[in-house]
Every structure is written in C-alpha cells, then in structure tokens.
C-alpha cells in the first residue's frame, strides 16, 4: 500500500531535463510551490564525467553517464536499458534519465523551426499541421533564447525561410571555424537542383561571452558528450537557479521514479505514485501535474497509468531526424578538431516544393575531422599499413588530419502511426513493463536520404574537387532528437494534448517537451521544446492564479 506523505503542491513536474527545469523555475519565480521529481540523480563534477568518458571503451554520447545512472533508471545505452526493440531497422537515438537530462550531451544547436514546418499538410500534403503557427511561438522563441543563452546572428537569421525575428539574440555569434571560411570562399558558385547554396552561422546555446555566470566557450571541442566548463547550456543551469529562487517553495527529489499517474472518475489527476530511493512507494499530490520525461518515458508512463484510454495516438508518431554524413579531404589545410564541432550550416534545403515527395534537410559543416563517420584511429591504422614510421608517419598524419571537411544532413522524418512506443512484456528493475519501440524508414524519408547523398556529393565535389571522400557506413544515424508520441492537436481524435500540452480528458495534467511535436521539421528541437515550455509555464501561472486576482 502506497504511503501518502507531504503537502498539496501547486505543481509537480516529472523530469528534471531542460523542459521540466524551465517550467519549474518559472513557476517558482512566480511564487508557486513546485516539486520536481527525477528518476535519476544529480551527477558528480564535470571533471569526473570527463574521466569517465576517457576511460570507457564506448565513447558514445552517453559514455560518461552510463556509470552514473541509477540502476532503476538505466541509460538507454546500457545493457539493462528499459527500452527494447524488435529486430528490424532500429531507432538509433538515446536519452538520459538523470538530473539535467539529455542536455548533458546535446549539441547545443538552436535553429528555430520555420513557418512552413507548422503547415506541412496545407503546403505539401504531408504529415499534419500544428495547431499553432510560427507567429504564435515567436515571442517564446525569443524568451527561450534568452533563458538558454543563445549566440547568433540576428540579421542573418531574421527572415530566413520566412521566419521573422522580433528580438536580437542575447549574444553575438560564435565565431565560425577556420574550415568554414574555406568552404565559404568556395560555395558561392554552387547550386543544388537550381537552389543557390549559402553558408549561414548556426545559432547555438553556447556562450560567445560570459553569460549568466557561465564562461565563454573556450573551444574544448567536446560538446558531445560534455562541455567541461559549462559554456554550453545544459539544464543544470535552471535546476541550480530553481534551488536559489527565494520566492515560493521548491524541492527536487532525485532518484524518485514515478510509476503511475492516478486519475479520479472525472479524469482529473488525483495523485502520482512514485518510488523513492528507499524503495517505499509514496503518493504525491498537487493541483497541476506536468510530465516532462521525454518522448519515450512520457508515453510509457501514460500507458502504465492506463490514461487516455482508447486514444490510439498515445505512443504513436515516434520521430527523430536521420543523419547522413560525408567527409572529404581538401587541398588546403582546414585545421579541424578545434572549437565547437560545428559553427555553420546550409539552410536552403529545409523547405521547398520538393517536400511533397521527399524529406527536407538542414546541412551542417563539421569541424571535427571524420566525426562519427570515421575515427582518428583509422588515420593511424592506414598510415601504419603503408609502412610509415617516424617523421614520415608524423607528417602523413598531419597531412591527412588537417585537411578534413565533414558535411552532414539532418533529415526530416514524418509522423507515422506505425512508428511508436508501446509497453513490452519484459520488466524493468521495478517490475514495470519496459518501453518497446517499433520503427521503420518510410519512402518519404528514404527519398530524403537518397537526395541527401546526392547533395553531399555535389557539395563536397564543389568545395574540394578530387578530394578523397568517405561516406558514413550506416544507412542513417539517429540525431538524438526523440519526437512525437504524445502529439498536440485539436481533440483526442487526432492527438493526445492540446496546443499548450494539456492532456485531452485530464484537465490538470500537462505534457511538455518534444513528445508533443506533431512533425519534426529539420532543425534541432530543443529550442522549440523550450519555447513551448515557457508558453505552457505562462498558462500554468495563470491557471494557478485565483480568478478574482486575474480579473
């Protein structure tokens, strides 16, 4: 029998990632009583995470964090993951269950979605429209850029693909890489399918000057898996701020796994059931509940709780962005491996009539050598296989390692009801069904992948004629952008939540984050998730304000 403890909070937020942290912070700053729950714990110092990464054989984005995960909230990369997939094309992105969430190892790139992304059905007969448009979100984009600390070029981004901007970025752009300047000097004459190509500085939540107590980027070149100095935003910024707010009440309970959302007869949520570190279940009560547990755990929790009965959209429309990359050598030195892994991109192919037939994509220019396409060890192995030693070896490595350019496409994925999260028969360490992911690559996405390959070859042939090119071995990589599964819409006939995140049929339950995206667009989703979260927080503050005060 669960034990009931504690007070009636104004709001309980499930998940201490960027979305949950932003909402909790805003609410507490408005004087509210907020409890945050997270299945994972607070991580140790960044120096230890750096060492974790170095001393592991699997240097993946989640590498430094596997050893720190709570056994009851295992990393998706671990053997004990609470996510399983049947044989078939895999879903390749992962997430973290810990305080700070997946922002610990996000890229930090913060382009906005473009107006067309919100109206895909109307414009191109694909996917669905969002119940809001770009103009609805624009003020919240500005606010999210201020909260996260985004460095960008206002003039360059204002009006880009129809996306107007009403405020300057809080910081000037992160300097482009030496390599970008070489590309810029050679790209002017290039077109793809008649579309002129232009290099654009990428907005990013990475400080170009000291900002809100964090330092400017020093070019540690390790944004994934970790920024060792905190120049890149991660959600610990708002978790720490939440703890410092002197208004309202606030508490973070870590290593507390929410196991069920309990609803009353009328559909309103009565309490949460959770298992804290001591293993003794508790009931937790609030006026409003916000689930911000990413796009796999969130639908899993709804399904575990038996909520939204009969709504087939729960767990459906799982999306990501596919990643395809090509690396070339050039005739001039580009000196990669210094600074942020990417500082510029090409946005021209994010929209166009071609979206009726094939997925759109954004292109980023890499500043990280072979990136994920090949590692540095390959350069050494190749030189050794050629019998090179001593100065010959050193000079060969220098010659090959300093002349690399990598380009990658971030390819749109459409919502497909067959791509989904459901409950598996296998159980997790708490005896709860694990999440099961079913996923396949559709024709639209395959056409986008094929087109991306053609584009990458055109681009690198143009920039580095005669260069030695290496394509990524896998058909696609995940981008770490887990989207969909509790999408927003008008009613339960087409969605799980409304445009603010309120769950249809459960008036005091809200879902926040990437799981509410109806379509994926072509950009990194964190800024959009942050903007939606701030918009939701504003609504929650209003709802918690007595009507007489509001009037």
């Amino acid at each position: 029998m669960a034990e009931r403890i504690g007070d009636l909070h104004d709001v309980i937020v499930v998940g201490a990632g960027v979305v949950g942290a932003l909402i909790a912070c805003r609410l507490r700053e408005a004087g509210r009583d907020v409890l945050i729950l997270d299945a994972g714990g607070t991580l140790p110092g960044r120096d230890r995470l750096v060492e974790n990464h170095v001393l592991t054989a699997r240097r993946s984005p989640g590498g430094p964090y596997r050893a720190e995960a709570d056994p009851r909230a295992p990393s998706m990369e671990s053997d004990s993951s609470d996510v399983i997939q049947p044989p078939g094309p895999p879903f390749k992105s992962t997430y973290e269950r810990m305080v700070g969430g997946t922002t610990w190892h996000w890229f930090g790139l913060t382009p906005r979605m473009i107006p067309s992304d919100f109206r895909l059905r109307t414009l191109y007969g694909r996917g669905v429209n969002w119940p809001i448009d770009y103009a609805d979100l624009e003020p919240w984009y500005c606010e999210a850029e201020r909260e996260l600390g985004v460095s960008g070029d206002h003039a360059e981004q204002d009006g880009l693909l129809g996306g107007f901007r009403s405020r300057e970025y809080p910081m000037t752009p992160v300097f482009s890489s030496y390599s970008d300047e070489l590309v810029r000097s050679r790209i002017d004459a290039l077109t793809f399918e008649g579309i002129p190509l232009r290099l654009v500085n990428t907005p990013q939540a990475r400080n170009s000057r000291p900002y809100q107590g964090r330092p400017a980027c020093a070019g540690n070149s390790s944004c994934i898996p970790i920024c060792p100095i905190g120049a890149k935003y991660d959600a610990t910024v708002h978790i720490e701020r939440f703890a410092r707010v002197e208004r309202g009440r606030g508490e973070l309970r870590e290593r507390t796994v929410v196991t069920r959302i309990a609803a009353a007869e009328d559909g309103s949520i009565s309490h949460l059931e959770a298992t804290p570190p001591d293993g003794n279940p508790v009931e937790l009560h609030a006026r409003l509940y916000v689930v911000a547990a990413h796009a796999i755990e969130t639908p899993r929790l709804l399904l575990l709780s038996g909520l939204c009965r009969g709504n087939t959209h729960v767990g459906a429309y799982l999306m990501d962005h596919f990643n395809r990359a090509l690396v070339t050598t050039t005739d001039e030195q580009t000196f990669p491996f210094r600074g942020p892994p990417t500082t510029s991109g090409i946005d021209a192919l994010r929209d166009g009539p071609f979206r009726r037939l094939s997925a759109a994509f954004r292109v980023s220019l890499g500043n990280d050598g072979g990136g994920r396409t090949f590692d540095n060890a390959r350069i050494i192995r190749q030189a050794l296989s050629e019998g090179r030693y001593g100065a010959d070896l050193r000079d060969t490595v220098r010659q090959r390692a300093t002349r690399l350019i990598r380009a990658a496409c971030l390819i749109e994925v459409l919502p497909d009801p067959a791509n989904r999260v459901s409950l598996a028969t296998d159980k997790d360490p708490l005896g709860l069904p694990k999440a099961r992911i079913d996923f396949h690559v559709g024709d639209y996405e395959q056409a986008g992948l094929d087109r991306a390959d053609k584009f990458l070859k055109t681009l690198l042939d143009g920039i580095a004629p005669g260069g030695s090119q290496t394509a990524q071995a896998s058909a696609y990589d995940g981008a770490g952008h887990i989207l969909g599964t509790t999408r927003m819409g008008a009613t339960s006939s087409d969605s799980v939540v409304d445009s603010f995140g309120r769950v249809h049929g459960h008036s005091n339950l809200f879902i926040a984050g990437c799981s509410t995206f109806p379509t994926s667009g072509t950009c990194n989703p964190t800024l959009t998730a942050a903007a939606l979260s701030l918009r939701l927080a504003d609504l929650l503050i209003t709802e918690l304000t007595p009507a007489e005060v509001r009037s």
């Binding site: 750096v50 390790s222 100095i229 600074g339 019998g387 220098r398 390692a401």
Partner: protein
C-alpha cells in the same frame, strides 16, 4: 590484495619494488572507487582464485580478457599506481628512445611513455615487447618498415605500440581496442600534436581561436 598485486607487478616488470605508503594509499583509493566496482570485484576474484606465480602471465592475461573492460582498467590503474615511479629506469629509457624513433616526435614525456610501456606489457602482446626492443635497437639506422618485414613476429606489438602512443587506446587484436588505464594516455595522445589541435575536453585557448590558423 596489495601484496598480491605487488607480487604481480614485480613479475610483470621483472623488478623488485617496495611500494611506498603513498603508493599503497593511491592503490586503495583506486580500488575503492565506486566506478571501479566491477573491476574491483573481478580483480578480487582473480586474486582469490589464481596465483600468478604458479600459472604464469599468459594465463593471467587470458583471465583478465574474459572479463569486462573495467577489469582491465582497474588492474592497469592499480598497477600503474603501484609502480610509480617506474622502477626500471633502463628499460624505461630504452622504450622512450624507441618511441621517439617510431612516432617521429622528440622529447616525449617520461611518465606518459612509462604508462604506455606498462600497458603494453600487461596486454597479450606484452610477451614480445622485449624482442621488439632488441630488434629495433639492433639496427638504429634501419628503415622500420623494412626491419618489421624481416621480423614479422614483432610487427603486431610495434604497431600496437605506435597506435597506443598516437591514440591513447590499446589494440589487443584486430577488432578489440581497450581504453587507457589513465586519462594521461588519452590527453597525451600524439594525434593531437600531429593535427595541430588539442585533445577534446582540454581548453584550446581563448574564445574564437578556432577561427584562425593554429599558432606555430
């Protein structure tokens, strides 16, 4: 445990060394580190069930390789802590000199090359390190590739040696690469010097330096 590791370290390095109190404390800290729990458990199991004096190093290495990477990391870290400073100055100097010849980089760091030597010795190719040193020193002016063609038995360990110095990781066969036992090996990898860059996670300098050509 300490005594056992001490004997093992002596056997591997073929020297006699009495660990100082500081070294013993460093060893204990490593073994008690919760991140090394798996490795600690595995090393404990090996220690309680296997006597390296009786079975020889090859059997011990086989035992280690049956377990996970953490076992190797923990054992190597423990040995590294136990043996610092490197006891055999002569071997250390010979290894460092040949490392400079093989990699093309002069003035390699003493501690870094000692770590790499220790790591090579405890891995399966370690049995051929001595032979490789002898062959390379026998022809100081020879082209290394030609020398390896005449002595194919030492080619794998020489390639692993160079790979380790350039990347920091240790290749143990065609498909397996083990992480370093000490972060120094990763951050000191020569690849970054060759690429005129800096190891990821170490500050590269002032904001925006990546916009410019590296300074000479």
């Amino acid at each position: 445990m300490n005594e056992w590791l001490h004997r093992l370290a002596n056997r591997i390095a073929n020297v006699t060394v009495e660990p100082t109190l500081q070294q013993r404390q460093a060893l204990e800290a490593i073994l008690k580190d919760p991140r090394r729990k798996t490795g600690f458990e595995v090393v404990s199991a090996i220690a309680s069930t296997f006597d390296p004096e009786a079975g020889g190093l090859s059997l011990l290495r086989a035992q280690i390789r049956q377990h996970d990477e953490a076992a190797v990391v923990a054992l190597c870290a423990a040995l590294g802590a136990l043996l610092l400073p490197w006891p055999d100055a002569v071997l250390s100097r010979r290894f460092r000199g040949l490392s400079e010849r093989l990699t093309g980089f002069a003035s390699l760091d003493d501690r870094l090359t000692d770590l790499h030597l220790l790591r090579l010795l405890v891995e399966p190719l370690g049995d051929t390190v001595g032979a490789a040193i002898e062959v390379l020193e026998s022809a100081p002016e020879a082209n290394v590739a030609s020398l390896l063609a005449q002595h194919p038995d030492i080619k794998p360990v020489v390639e692993a040696w160079v790979f380790q110095l350039y990347i920091g990781d240790t290749p143990v066969d065609a498909t397996t690469v083990l992480p370093p036992a000490d972060a120094t090996a990763h951050f000191g990898a020569l690849f970054w010097r060759a690429a005129e860059a800096h190891p990821p996670m170490l500050a590269g300098g002032y904001f925006g330096h990546w916009h410019y050509r590296p300074e000479d």
